[in-house]
Symmetry: C2
């Protein structure tokens, strides 16, 4: 386990029984430990046997061989595949059985590190590690006072600062919500700057256009230095297939730019069974594997050894309403099996299956679906868990309160991953001997020694009595979360940055904003 660091955010102290030394210590203690990433100290959950896994892999090969994929609008990509021996007819590319897997396994790293500008926040992606990242891509934002509305530049900064304050969130995010008050071609300049200025964690790259990818890289050079960026992964970007079985020109452009600069690219096939994939989980998994094999092979053909990851999300649409549903058995099983397919392929597993929900508000439905999905992803050994805090409404909305509620979920699982304390104090035989039958442990020596660091503490969960809870206003979790994020924003301090680097980033951003305004 990486060394713990202390975060500045201190929760409002709860009313304490007794007070005195215990109360003082409780108040002085940060709410949750911070680690740059999680190391899972338990075996991964596996639910499908070898025969079933091979069946899905065989079917993925059949799909790539018989149906193939369309790589639309990018002749260079078609040339690359043709040169590698694929069967290219028009924009349709078919692959011999096992061809994509062979290309990937020849050069793709099983795990890699992504650097943060504060190197203490570097993350490891792959193996036994797991990182939680904030929600991304929502056009709307939601809080319980103002309701649902289009996201703004201000909302994005607020949500980013909240994410930076949460100890259990391991990366920044370029797209917690859309900056609807900023013209589309300019948005990425604000979000890349903000990730570097208002967080000191590993960032996400922009894939919206080739120019956005280039700007991301140029700004990363200003932070990390050109030479360092050439030999280190400092940007993690996600490209999606257009399921079923299509890669579009925008995504391929971003993939090529990042891969050529040896920055990490996640290839996701966001398959919702019944709509963009077959109804059955086995069928959706085969199609998803086929699509990601195609995308990952392209990365390795372009830039052998470039860091990459396989997307592992499976969802469904309601056959009654056509709407995407989350936290379903199909989704939970699909994610768990997909993680295994990624490990068998030999690349890190990434999953949109964080705290995902179809609920419009941070209610019990939101929490049930979020907890089911995030826990399954975590137990299944997913390495990079996207949308771990803040997601609402099938990704259409980012919730302020949802950020806080989900953070308890993330930090509970982070705690779960810690090794069991089997020290003398952890075994506590001395305490059992001291207390004996029929007494209690509240005052024994072991408790006195260890209570300060014992037990995980949530941000928003209230475990007090009914009477106390009622006296404090009978507030539900969302109302308490509202007070917490406001306090976080009120106390937020931007992490220190070299003034020269900040100046260079601002200069780049402002020049490019003017150029885009001017139409270049």
């Amino acid at each position: 386990m990486p060394e713990k660091m202390i975060v500045p955010f201190l929760p409002k102290p709860r009313r304490l029984h007794g007070g005195g030394r215990a109360a003082k210590l409780a108040r002085a203690r940060p709410v949750q430990p911070r680690a740059p990433y999680i190391v899972r100290n338990f075996p991964i959950m596996r639910i499908l046997d070898e025969e079933g896994l091979q069946l899905i892999e065989r079917n993925a090969d059949t799909i790539l061989q018989e149906v193939g994929m369309e790589f639309r609008g990018d002749p260079e990509v078609l040339d690359i595949f043709r040169a590698a021996g694929a069967d290219v007819q028009g924009e349709r590319v078919r692959f011999e059985r096992g061809m994509c897997r062979k290309i990937i396994q020849a050069s793709a790293p099983r795990a890699f590190d992504q650097r943060a500008r504060n190197r203490a926040n570097d993350i490891h992606i792959g193996g036994a590690s797991a990182v939680f990242t904030p929600a991304g891509g929502a056009p709307f934002v939601h809080d319980i006072e103002r309701g649902r509305r289009y996201g703004s530049h201000e909302d994005y900064l607020n949500l980013l600062k909240i994410a930076q304050t949460l100890p259990c969130i391991h990366t920044a995010s370029g797209g917690i919500c859309e900056l609807v008050d900023v013209p589309v071609p300019q948005r990425h300049l604000h979000t890349v700057y903000a990730q570097f200025r208002y967080t000191d964690r590993a960032i996400k790259g922009v894939v919206r256009s080739p120019q956005a990818a280039i700007d991301t890289l140029e700004m990363a050079k200003l932070v990390f230095g050109d030479e360092f960026l050439q030999s280190n992964c400092c940007i993690y970007s996600g490209v999606n297939t257009n399921s079923p079985l299509v890669f579009d020109v925008t995504m391929m452009a971003a993939l090529k730019i990042y891969a050529r600069h040896r920055q990490a690219v996640l290839v996701s096939a966001y398959v919702l069974g019944g709509a963009m994939g077959p109804l059955g989980v086995a069928g959706s998994l085969s199609q998803q594997l086929a699509e990601t094999l195609g995308g990952l092979a392209l990365i390795q053909l372009i830039s052998p050894g470039a860091p990459c990851a396989m997307g592992c999300f499976i969802g469904t649409v309601s056959m009654q309403t056509g709407a995407p549903a989350f936290g379903t058995p199909e989704s939970l099983r699909g994610i768990t099996i997909a993680a295994e397919l990624a490990r068998r392929l030999g690349v890190p597993a990434s999953c949109a299956g964080g705290a995902v929900t179809a609920s419009k508000i941070p209610d019990a439905q939101a929490a049930t679906e979020s907890a089911l999905t995030l826990q399954a992803s975590f137990f299944a050994g997913i390495n990079y868990i996207s949308h771990a805090v803040g997601w609402l409404e099938g990704g259409l909305s980012a919730g302020y309160e949802k950020m806080i509620i989900d953070a308890d979920l993330c930090s509970a699982l982070q705690g779960f991953a810690q090794p069991l304390d089997v020290s003398e104090d952890g075994q506590a035989l001395d305490a059992v001997r001291e207390v004996g039958p029929g007494s209690h442990y509240l005052g024994c020596a072991n408790t006195q020694r260890n209570f300060e660091t014992a037990h995980w503490r949530p941000l928003v969960a209230d475990s007090g009595t009914y009477e106390q809870w009622q006296a404090e206003g009978g507030r539900d979790a969302a109302v308490r979360a509202n007070a917490i994020w406001k306090k976080m924003l009120g106390e937020y301090e931007a992490p220190p940055i070299d003034p020269g680097v900040d100046e260079a980033l601002r200069t780049y951003r402002d020049r490019r904003l003017r150029e885009i305004q001017g139409g270049t």
Copy 2:
């Protein structure tokens, strides 16, 4: 997997896109499949290595050897232990290393069946099976309209009828809430009658007093017949230790009565680390194992071969407020490891870690803690999961809406446990070939063939659009759950019962009520 049965409850059809045949089928389909119990078709999650497990087992033996347990107020039990070779001094009983384990492993069944009056609802307890049971023991009830109040006879019947209607709940419960409007000595007569009359599922026995246990057995005889009851497990009862390391006279009395009648007894040690057990998870687990070993050994000494189960719940109390907390990393790890200890001992694992929460209302905190705990228990291989629906406020309150919200959680996990469909339709290669790149699966032949039975359907979760949700009143999950339980109660029909049996049960109940009223 046991054969699916159809339940009478049909949800209100959702507004459908399109309509026609699809809409008609969707409306006609029951919301969730019913199975008498779950068979887990996936490997159990294990998080502690052999060395760690042996350490905990060794420490449990050390506790039993050095500290021992107190069996208070029951000389017969002390004689039983003395005769078996234990070191009995006063009420303190100490056991040689390995003695309890040896006694248990000599005769306790690894798994057993519990009979229901509708034999189609018999449950299997142990091995790869899992059952979900309703919450139990709450003095208060809660619904979002009337708030929190003492539970009544009427509330109990309501909650029991809701449980009977939920396809994913596999047993009845004698104590979803307390019947505060009924004198304590009379309550069990109403709850045992109600379990037999208003449900047709496996029942829970009462342990409140020796007479309550005897009444439960007598009424079970009227339902199952004396002879059948002698050779079949028809009652499942839970007794608790008084942690740390005490068995009280009431619990021992119930244990002896049920064990002698070869009815199943669960021995639980409800250890909350920092209060009734040591702070550390490893210490709490050792103490819990010691206590359950003592109780289970007593069962097997009294009645070799009697069905029994080991309780596996670990919780914590907040070191800031002293209040019990749920869904914590300590609890999730404790439950998961305890399940492994039960399997190693060779008895079914039972756990209070269903949908448990400290929240006072069915909000996001309640759902987060409930989902984390229930999912961990389920993945860890717990066989009998108590409090799977309805629990609030650390067990002090049973929630009407919480029953419904938790049911979605239970049925999602029930769905997760199903084997992956790897039939031709499940693999769906025909569909991928038919649809090809860039289209969708909504109308393909595979979807047309299978959409009727495809995909799990929740009771309360809403996956519709924001606009549709808003048009329907913008109701949160709790408000929707309120409408659902009211509809369930409105449409509830008691399962058929032999009028003679019903008459005999009523006669017994009423006679005993009069006797108790008269003081006998």
